[in-house]
Symmetry: D2
Subunit: 164 residues, 4 copies
């Protein structure tokens, strides 16, 4: 059995219209590729929007929730993983993703970028200015910049090709 | 959207032929009902056997791994959730399951039965003698006994009917 | 440097007068031996009583809290370790203890006994009837029974002597 | 009872001579103030050096370890808290600290700065250039810069005075 490829989409619980629209489009593109979308599962911002996009294309959506119940999971998260561990679940987000996409976000997203770098996961920054200002500290070679959801997909496809 | 029902199958990493055969049959029955199978994800005992059964019927299998990589996940786990948290992942197994089935197992399984009782999850004991000796301490009302995989399914169906 | 010996005291958040009195006495005896007391840190039952006993004898008390703040720690916990991880912190209680004492308790305590057995920690059961009914399943050799706080101390002293 | 004030010292497992010397001096100053030093507990870099400084002044040192045993704890960690949770323990470091000092470090330290900002903990950056480049994204008001260990102490004393 070959496992489906898992794309972790990190990003803010607070997101403006453009950021939500980008996350929604990213979710759609991920599902169209046959990839699984994994995110932090909350019913807010990038999490809710990317799950909606993926589900509308029939994709599988996994949400790693900080809470101890699934009550507040985003509507389009199909499989809520209930951790009851607050921010410690950020580590699980990263470890469970084959590749990490960092949309704009706050301190939670920054912690995930840092953990992804530490765990040597490939990271694609989608319009994430905060991480750009960190560029000289982040590991080269596994760090990519994208200006649109489609560019994210191109980077992931290139990364997968190199694996094969 | 209605989320799929998630059945957590707990049980030993060490399991004899009969126990593996029961876990395999249980996995098959769970998938035939359209339910998702969630377990501890390791390539051993009840975890490997129940995932194999479910996958052979086309079911979705989620494994909550104790390790920090998916390298040692059971072959038939489709979605490995990589926690890097050792036994602390047992809590996630329980919190993420709509109902918990406890097959025969050791101390890890016992910790999961205890956590399931604490978190007020319905528990179905499949030939689990250890838990039977605890019966007077476990909460009545959400505790069920089964002598075969099919009986487990009957209990879950009855439980779901009561929810509706 | 030799590290101080750490005694983990597990037990119910709900405890009757006798159980609280035993936990209080146990805390006193642990501190008199120069050992550190570690427990689940909440302001209830065995946790609050054992911490009170230890502090009154000048002992060091560590509480591994399930919450994400120290606000609800027991008054006599000197060092609250704030995990924000709910029941997953039970694993930390066990892994951080050199020896585990299980006072009477509920399902949380049972999960800790199971984890202690899995992690091969020595376990001393103080009037814990639930665990007694499990005796045939628990590992012999590292499991001891005590009928009073002082007997617990005797078992720990014997265990330490064997280490040296 | 008033609890001792807990200072979390974050920083790299890899540290040059000057960085180790700063961490050692910082540990000494923290202990002289009667504060508890808490760090990541490993026998390396800023963790080992700050614990050594604090212990030599008779301070209490707590190490929140990523491993599942205390075998690899730094020598001068008096109380190893054994989490078995890898990088997820970074959350515990932050939640358990009354104030967070970030020495120079890598991605683990960056994740801790991000979590500290998210959890609204006061953060003092000691010669941490990476975080300086993030300054415009970090919350003002609880973020302080220090160029020497003694300046860190001044900032903490001022912070405590404001609390009273």
């Amino acid at each position: 059995m070959t496992r489906p490829f898992i794309v972790g989409v990190m990003g803010g619980g607070v997101a403006d219209d453009q950021q939500q629209s980008d996350a929604y489009a990213l979710g759609k593109h991920i599902a169209r590729q046959g990839w699984v979308l994994l995110n932090g599962g909350r019913d807010a911002g990038v999490m809710a929007a990317s799950a909606k996009g993926a589900r509308e294309e029939g994709g599988l959506t996994i949400g790693i929730l900080p809470d101890s119940t699934a009550k507040h999971a985003a509507k389009h998260i199909q499989i809520p993983i209930v951790t009851g561990m607050g921010n410690a679940r950020n580590c699980i987000n990263i470890l469970s993703s084959d590749v990490v996409v960092a949309c704009p976000g706050g301190m939670g997203t920054l912690s995930e970028i840092a953990l992804a770098a530490k765990c040597q996961k490939p990271i694609i920054l989608l319009k994430n200015k905060m991480a750009k200002s960190l560029a000289s500290f982040l590991p080269a070679g596994r760090l990519f910049y994208a200006d649109s959801p489609l560019e994210v997909i191109d980077h992931i496809r290139a990364y997968i090709s190199n694996l094969e």
